[in-house]
Amino acid sequence: MVALICSRFGVDQIDAAEDVVSETFLAAAETWGLKGVPDNPVGWLYRVAKNNTLNGLKHERVFRQKVKRELVKGSSSSIEPQLDISPENITDSQLRMLFAVCHPSIPVEAQVSLALRVLCGFTIDEIAQALLTTKANINKRLYRAKEKLRQSGVTLTLPDDVGMNERLDAVLITVYLLFNEGYYSASPDKLLRKDLCLEAMRLAYLLTEYRGGSGKAIVRPDVYSLLALMCFQASRLEARVDAAGRLVLYEQQDSGLWNTELINRGNSFFIKACDAGALSRYHLEAAIAWWHTQQGDSREKWENILMLYNRLLMLAYSPIAALNRAYAYARVYGKEAAIPEAEGLELTGNLFYHSLLGELYLGVDEGKAVGHFEQALELASTEAERAVISRKIGSCRRS
């Protein structure tokens, strides 16, 4: 809704647009409480928001005209402002806003917060909870990001063909980050984490719906591979956390809880992704995620995962991919062969480096295993992580 209003009246009206939206929802809470929910609640909200916006603008216009009259005593061509609330325009506005939010002038963490606020309608409270920071921090981040948008004169026009490619890269990174914030978040609120993942998937899906002026799709194959990747990952959302909110590791998950509908949707996105075009990191990550949706263990599964991590790392290094590769190496060639691979990574300040080495040394050298788990425990920042590691240390000591 904020996106819709801004796409008509400009990004500099973003605060005013947020006010209009808040007023609208307040009105909904009051009216629906008294009269019941209308037949088409979404349409109702958009209609009321439209009226609120137009009223707000009328005030501003009256003011401007009065001042203007004093100054020029001339004619004023007053045109009634319009707000198009058709579904096509809503989708289009959200896309424009998504590209504006991912403007290079804004740091990527701020992009995530801003997207959650203006595109996903999260409250400041929810964003702070999801990103494990304070409300004050989020407010600061949002304030600065909006200032940047104004200062840089960002408009809600979509970049041209040349700029589009580059900006689409940034959009995909932000959307994937948004997804990972939800997927890996240590926030105790399970529903909130799920919402984050679903919103990221919705935004990526939005990208596939866009048709430019010429009816040409902007969709690149990596948009589909990112969608596939998120579907495959999200299929395990239910299985990876137990009833008590504890993290369940992949090997211990009940594969009956994996969401087959999401896996199937992921498959069809992935087929589209592989139809044409260059191989991106999202293709490789989606392929890795696909192998993880395969139940049971086989040598073939882990050999393929290892090969894909090799290729992913050759394309782009990241510590988490390096650690996952070492784990896959252990699954193919055994723990002892994988220990030098893991130790060679020298990621000594990384929690997962130590928990991986702890895991690899189990049954090989219990003393070293405990040593690594203890270092991991020191690096852990959340209760959930500490609980998992403490259980490991406990079982080492008992054995």
Partner: protein, 119 residues
């Protein structure tokens, strides 16, 4: 960190047939070796394999000969570029190279020279 080319040299005349299974295995060795270097964030460039068929070498005065340039019955069949503190460290990375598995190949470690370096 400096950049080094790791150049793979193999003896010529080893034209033995390789079965698809062996080929697959060799590919796995290469991918694991290069993946391992990339996992340490030391891979600068995956380089290229260099083919033998349809290769030429060109000398002065318009002399063109068929085949890769072999000196002392050895030719280059590929290279990658890695990042290392010094030559010794780059040599350490080269030690796992599958070209060495047969006992006859060699890896040559050569620093890349920046355009402004006139040493």
């Amino acid at each position: 960190m400096k950049e080094f080319a790791l150049i793979f040299r193999v003896p010529s005349g080893l034209g033995a047939e390789v079965s698809p299974a062996e080929m697959q295995e060799r590919m796995t060795f290469w991918m694991n070796w290069m993946g391992g270097i990339a996992a340490k964030d030391r891979l600068v460039n995956s380089g290229n394999r260099l083919g033998v068929k349809d290769s030429k070498w060109v000398g002065a005065n318009g002399v063109v000969s068929d085949g890769p340039y072999t000196e002392v019955k050895e030719f280059i069949n590929g290279y990658i570029v890695v990042r290392a503190e010094n030559g010794d460290e780059a040599a350490e990375l080269a030690k796992g190279c599958p070209i060495l598995l047969g006992g006859v190949g060699k890896v040559e470690v050569r620093p890349l020279v920046a355009p402004d370096n006139n040493e």
